[in-house]
Symmetry: C3
Subunit: 344 residues, 3 copies
């Protein structure tokens, strides 16, 4: 009998099943440095322990997406190794900062199942939680993926489709203990724009672009212990290209968004995300944002912007999300809907 992991198929998931994902992973200052070398991030909180402490965050948190990628990477061998497609995310909340020294473990519960009409695959919904060494939840999210059946003749389970929020509200956000933007240093942070300067409907072209390379996305994806072979092995796809992990594009776009959103310091939640098109080495990625909503929070001096972050292959100064048929415009790679925290 094989000792290697063949991944789970659609029949392997049952409603209520809980999967403890391997392997726990300790976050270190090394992760921060490698992340800084791979993405052009300049947000002051993850960049400076002093700045972070001044807004109430000590010890020094790492970028939220470091925690997310680590937590998410653990689910790949169990949830999506046989995935036909990653269909969506919802209700992702960063519940407490991840700091060097934290050890993250992830578990997932199956909350929905729906076999496809072709009988060959089905959609699996999981709610995943990443906990630290104190059993505190650091991050939680829902995700649904389309997974192959092992046996097309296996009977379909009763369809259960969970009710997930199209978007979290500001009341759903869980702000880090102690966060206080009252004495926020805009000069150190790099831009003067605050909560009141952003209007719903406003779009911001983040100007800069980065041309992707294979070594860089592989290093990022490995750092998260994400093992999906299409990212690393040129023999895994007919075209001989390595498919770039969608999270690489998220981190890159988020870093590029500094130019215009430098004070959107913290990601508090992700409402939805679509990896619209694959990205490959040689693509030059740009980003633009749209303000979808805004609200004050209960933390002192802290407002929240709901933002759409769009990554594109090639710069689109028109910032067009969809074409006349309502489909994503050519060149759109990522459409991410998230809440960020910003000084009022």
């Amino acid at each position: 009998m094989s000792k290697t992991n063949a991944g789970n198929f659609f029949e392997d998931f049952q409603i209520g099943k809980v999967i403890e994902h391997a392997t726990p992973r300790t976050v270190t200052e090394g992760d921060r440095a490698v992340y800084q070398s791979l993405y052009p991030t300049r947000f002051a909180v993850p960049s400076s322990a002093v700045f972070a402490a001044e807004v109430g965050l000590a010890p020094h948190p790492v970028e939220e997406l470091i925690g997310f990628h680590i937590a998410f990477g653990k689910t790949v061998p169990d949830v999506s190794l046989n995935a036909v497609a990653n269909l969506g995310y919802a209700e992702l909340r960063f519940r407490r900062p991840v700091v060097p020294g934290d050890t993250l473990s992830t578990q997932s519960e199956v909350i929905g199942l729906k076999q496809n009409s072709n009988g060959k695959s089905g959609v699996v919904y999981v709610r995943s939680t990443a906990t630290n060494q104190h059993d505190e939840i650091a991050i939680e999210w829902c995700r649904w993926v389309m997974v192959h059946k092992r046996d097309v003749d296996a009977p379909a389970p009763e369809a259960v489709v969970p009710s997930l929020k199209a978007a979290l509200t500001v009341e759903d956000l869980l702000l880090p203990d102690g966060l206080d933007f009252t004495d926020y240093d805009f000069e150190a942070a790099g831009e003067p724009h605050r909560f009141g300067d952003y209007q719903v409907g406003e779009k911001i072209d983040h100007v800069d672009g980065v041309t992707l390379t294979d070594p860089e996305h592989m290093m990022a994806t490995r750092l998260w212990q994400n093992t999906a072979k299409v990212h690393f092995n040129t023999e895994a796809r007919p075209d001989g290209n390595r498919l770039i992990y969608g999270g690489h594009v998220i981190s890159l776009a988020r870093a590029l968004s500094f130019n215009g959103l430098a004070n959107a310091q913290l990601i508090s939640a992700i409402n939805a995300g679509s990896h619209v098109a694959p990205a490959f080495a040689g693509d030059t990625v740009y980003a633009w944002s749209e303000v979808l909503d805004k609200a004050e929070t209960s933390a002192p001096g802290v407002g929240a912007l709901r933002l759409r972050l769009v990554a594109t292959k090639g710069r689109d100064t028109s910032m067009t999300l969809r074409n006349e048929e309502g489909k994503y415009a050519d060149g759109v790679l990522l459409d991410l809907d998230y809440w960020a925290l910003i000084p009022v």
Copy 2:
């Protein structure tokens, strides 16, 4: 007179000569992170400080191969800068875990010399030890290399060929103080297979492959302060290719072996290693393992597997080591014989 290092030639080695290699190097959490970004490693002990502490290893050790590569890299300028070939290793033992904050220094003693019959080169045998800042031996190994003579007319030294063990026995292994697999968490570690599940003679195809790139192997090799120019300089070889450091293939194959050997947590010793063929950027590396021997140890809950780890260019699901003539099969890059520790 030149101030640069021209390396040692065969005549520069005498039996009993001790070389203190430059330069000492402090291991940090940064090394762990860069290593994780370069190799798809997921072993729970080096990944998680919590898991490591639960099996008795605190502070949190780094992967054994990090210590080895650092210790080995130091010997290159003195031992193998003028090497025609790295001929072999033997009797490598990891005597105590390397943890962030440790400063490693390496010294080598010449234990064997044998001039080749052509009079142009000779084989040098050294026993090397890497010690930490407390003068404790962390790693020790023997290695022999073929080195050019500076002057072909120099007289041959008396031939001394040391008696080295073809393989260490389980009694030769030095287990880390405090190691205890009694309460080992198989779920967190990622696979259920324990000592008793592996049979001598069993082979395991590790399934996954990684396509090599130049920037990644150069970053790894530099991290170990290994200065052999063929790894970095396209002008150093007639074919214009950078030769990949053999240790890069070892680390990659070891990481790939997680899939099927996730609980072979620690490398305790390396009996022998052959870099069968050179590897270059663009090669896709796969790995398979064979169980050569097994034995219980004196540490609670800890068994030892003697494993052959084979890296191949292209996947070989037949797991063939040698062809009908008894030579290594096409595609074999590495044949490594080592002892790993696994829960019983």
Copy 3:
């Protein structure tokens, strides 16, 4: 109104204006590791906490150039985003070691302005200081760049050209508190050559070469939060090449200089630097040095060598700086004039 940073133009600078650059950045052991993976550095002080402590430097400083690149990177968005050319450096002094945990902030004061006769651009001189979290100056330097005017019809400011030293003298150097080379361990450091072994006028060919790649220089440049788009975006230049950050060549050449200058442990000051020609992926970089001056210092056992460090594309064993017309010889990439500290 745009929220993104368009950079400053010539008219935006006035004599005496002080710019607080974003964003503060905390240095970590992760930076040391990434740096070690990107450059073949083997100097014993930044490599070993034990060696550093033995010469009076504890906690363990990072390579001086790590501090410099971080401090310099912060000035790019404000000073040189619209630069036509980086014209020069002067009076750069490393005033105190940078250690993990330090948070660096940079500010610049405009100390000179001179519009070009074409009316389209001008030269801006700034004096920059990088301070740590205790408001102590870690690094200071002057730099001048040619910057576009936003409006060619804007009136020219009164020309002010600061008086900058062609080179610092040994009396200008500020040595780290406690530095003491009295018990310096030459064996651990890797070479026997000390202050007295170097003669003014002596040249040293550092032998080794490294072929550049795009992922590596991008990772380095991002680590310093340097955002100049020509380094990252193949669409930013007509030739489709990424221009390599000049600081990458400085760090590479400095690391290569270990071979012959292993005991030139610390960079104390940089007198001048010229990025003579652009470097691109595929170029193989070599280095040679010339001893320009030497002097003892007030610290015990510590001498200073003034060195010219030259990086070349392709190896030039003749070590020719300038051709017969007095121009830089073909292949010269970098001409850096600096003071290094070495045991007497």
